[in-house]
């Protein structure tokens, strides 16, 4: 059972940086492995542990500046390797920055076509920076295989996957023939934390860098133009309610809520 897993080096929404006008300073926000892609890596490793085979991680760099970001994207892939992936591929090309789900999915598909065939392709349901929820569905189209989104359980047997899709009103279990693309939710598993030894060993695993020329894909230009990226302003009182005892703090808070007209 060979599993490809797609991980994004996402802007970390917990580490936002802005200028005085509220404009997001993209270049100053660190990249981190997108939260649900970590679940996808975990699921891939669990499937490997049960069924044998290998896990290969793929990533396309979608944020610049390239020089600075390559190291961060490698770090994200190293994390997947430390968790238990066997090999990783990173596609870096100016023409894919800033990324959008269309060119990113096409580039990922070109990468796997170059590297080999897999039984299963896993990724997170959406990335934590742009939340587009598109890549799994697009990969299904690009690779010409079935795609199933929002998995909170996957069972693999006899060339098939049984997948429980987490939809708004119900859990829907479906069966699909492999190969297939599956996107996972954050609830599917609890990702393991690699040990120090595993982190060190990850540096000995192959991490290959590719360019668009290597994978034979030319993205269309100007598909999406980012006109603006602005932080939503928060204006709160930011008062810390303090006192020498919990009783005092609680009384002060009650009084404040009375003053606000909420407690009557």
């Amino acid at each position: 059972m060979n599993v490809a897993v797609f991980v994004k080096a996402s802007l970390d929404p917990n580490m936002l940086r802005v200028d005085s006008s509220g404009k997001i300073l993209v270049e100053d926000i660190p990249l981190a492995i997108s939260e649900y892609d970590r679940n996808a890596v975990e699921e891939a490793i669990r499937i490997k542990e049960k069924h044998g085979g290998k896990v290969v991680a793929f990533s396309v760099l979608t944020w610049g500046p390239l020089q600075k970001r390559v190291r961060e994207a490698e770090q994200v892939l190293r994390e997947a390797l430390a968790m238990g992936a066997d090999e990783a591929y990173l596609l870096v090309d100016e023409a894919l920055i800033p990324g959008n789900p269309y060119t990113t999915a096409e580039a990922l598909a070109a990468m796997v076509r170059k590297v080999g065939q897999f039984d299963l392709y896993l990724t997170g349901e959406g990335s934590m920076d742009t939340l587009s929820f598109q890549v799994a569905a697009r990969l299904g189209e690009a690779l010409g295989i079935p795609a199933v989104s929002y998995a909170r359980a996957i069972e693999v047997a006899d060339g098939k996957a049984r997948v429980t899709r987490d939809l708004e009103e119900h859990l829907e279990t479906v069966e699909v023939s492999l190969p297939a693309v599956i996107s996972v939710t954050g609830e599917i598993n609890k990702p393991r934390l690699p040990t120090l030894l595993q982190i060190r060993r990850a540096f000995a695993k192959p991490l290959n860098k590719l360019s668009l020329a290597d994978v034979g894909y030319t993205p269309p230009s100007g598909v999406v133009e980012i006109r603006d990226l602005k932080l939503l302003a928060v204006s709160r009182k930011n008062i810390m309610v303090e006192g020498s005892s919990l009783e005092e703090i609680a009384s002060k808070l009650v009084d404040l809520l009375v003053k606000e007209g909420i407690v009557k």
Binding site: P13, N14, L16, I24, P101, Y102, A105, M128, T130, L131, S132, F133, Q134, A137, R138, G140, E141, P146, A147, V148, S149, L167, E168, E169, H170, L171, E172, T173, V174, V176, T185, E187, P220, V223, V224, E225, I226, R227, L229, K230, L231, L232, V234, R236, K237, N238, I239, M240, V241, L246, E247, I249, A250, S251, L253, V254, L256, V258, I262, V263
Partner: protein, 312 residues
């Protein structure tokens, strides 16, 4: 501009028509065609009365995203729309993403606003955990989904032309469907919401939050892990970008760290209070009144003081 509306069920056509009206008022000269799937043509016809030039209907009891997408791709090949628009349900996002993938179009998931002028459109999206808005200009043709339940239905008019289409087979087969439990709480309507997070150690301890909510005449909501991981509360209590957006008079976040994906959905609250034992918790950036304390020690005292106030 020609717009194809994609509704995985006919009940979504009215809100798509609402979006179309908004787009038309900004852009002028919008022509619309619609696609939906329904158990019968008659069922679909109840919802095709919003001035669509043509409505394509796939008759099916149940359909998977791949089938719907394939059917829509055929319609696109015939009609050549500039814009394909669905509703940002999980199903709708998946269907439209497949269509966009098959047709090589950019797609904009859950657009919160549209700007239009000179025949060009700009889409606004919430990104970075809901904390930021990006303004994006697509090359047309493009696809998008609109937030569910955002747009009001316009006045219905004459039923337009309805064309039945066949659904191709799906690569998926259905094994079973389990309905999710509903709590019957409506935190979107509540004036006061007490939000609980992973600072609570076990389900029984939520009784303190419930007591507080009862005292204040409010409802209990929660962060994603409380509903989705632990199932301590039903999913309709889940607050955040992937749950409910709320705008109460008062939101009290208790044992919630203040992740952007949670806090961006409570920013319209009039007053925000947080109780967290970690003075550096990000939640305090979003609060009017912050209390640094162990919730297990603070809540009983706070409830007592409130009772005194309300009783007296």
């Amino acid at each position: 501009m020609k717009v194809l509306l994609v509704a995985e069920k006919p009940g979504l056509l009215p809100e798509l028509a609402g979006f179309l009206k908004d787009l038309g008022s900004k852009l002028g000269g919008v022509e619309a065609i619609a696609f939906t799937a329904a158990p019968s043509l008659d069922e679909a016809k109840k919802f095709t009365t919003y001035g669509f030039a043509k409505s394509y209907v796939a008759v099916a009891e149940q359909a998977f995203p791949d089938q719907l997408a394939k059917a829509v791709v055929e319609i696109i090949d015939k009609e050549g729309p500039d814009l394909v628009v669905g509703v940002a349900t999980k199903m709708g996002n998946e269907v439209v993403a497949r269509i966009a993938g098959a047709k090589g179009m950019p797609m904009f998931t859950e657009i919160v606003d549209v700007e239009a002028g000179d025949g060009a459109v700009l889409f606004h999206r919430a990104v970075l955990g809901g904390r930021a808005i990006s303004v994006l200009k697509p090359a047309l043709p493009a696809a998008a989904t609109i937030p569910a339940r955002k747009y009001e239905a316009p006045q219905p008019g004459e039923p337009g032309e309805v064309v039945e289409v066949k659904l191709p087979p799906s690569a998926l087969s259905l094994v079973k469907v389990e309905k999710k439990e509903k709590g019957g709480i409506n935190i979107e309507e509540a004036e006061i919401v007490v939000g609980v997070g992973r600072g609570f150690r076990k389900k029984e301890d939520l009784a303190m939050a419930e007591e507080l909510a009862n005292l204040l005449g409010g409802a209990v909501g929660c962060s994603r892990p409380i509903a989705a991981d632990y199932h301590w509360l039903p999913e309709d209590a889940w607050i955040g970008i992937s749950g409910k957006k709320i705008r109460p008079k008062l939101y009290i976040a208790i044992g919630i760290s203040g992740a952007p994906q949670h806090m961006s959905a409570v920013m319209d609250a009039k007053v925000i209070v947080a109780v967290n034992k970690d003075k550096n918790a990000p939640v305090f950036q979003y609060t009017d009144y912050g209390v640094v304390a162990d919730l297990y020690q603070f809540l009983p005292v706070f409830i007592q003081k409130l009772k005194e106030k309300l009783g007296g």
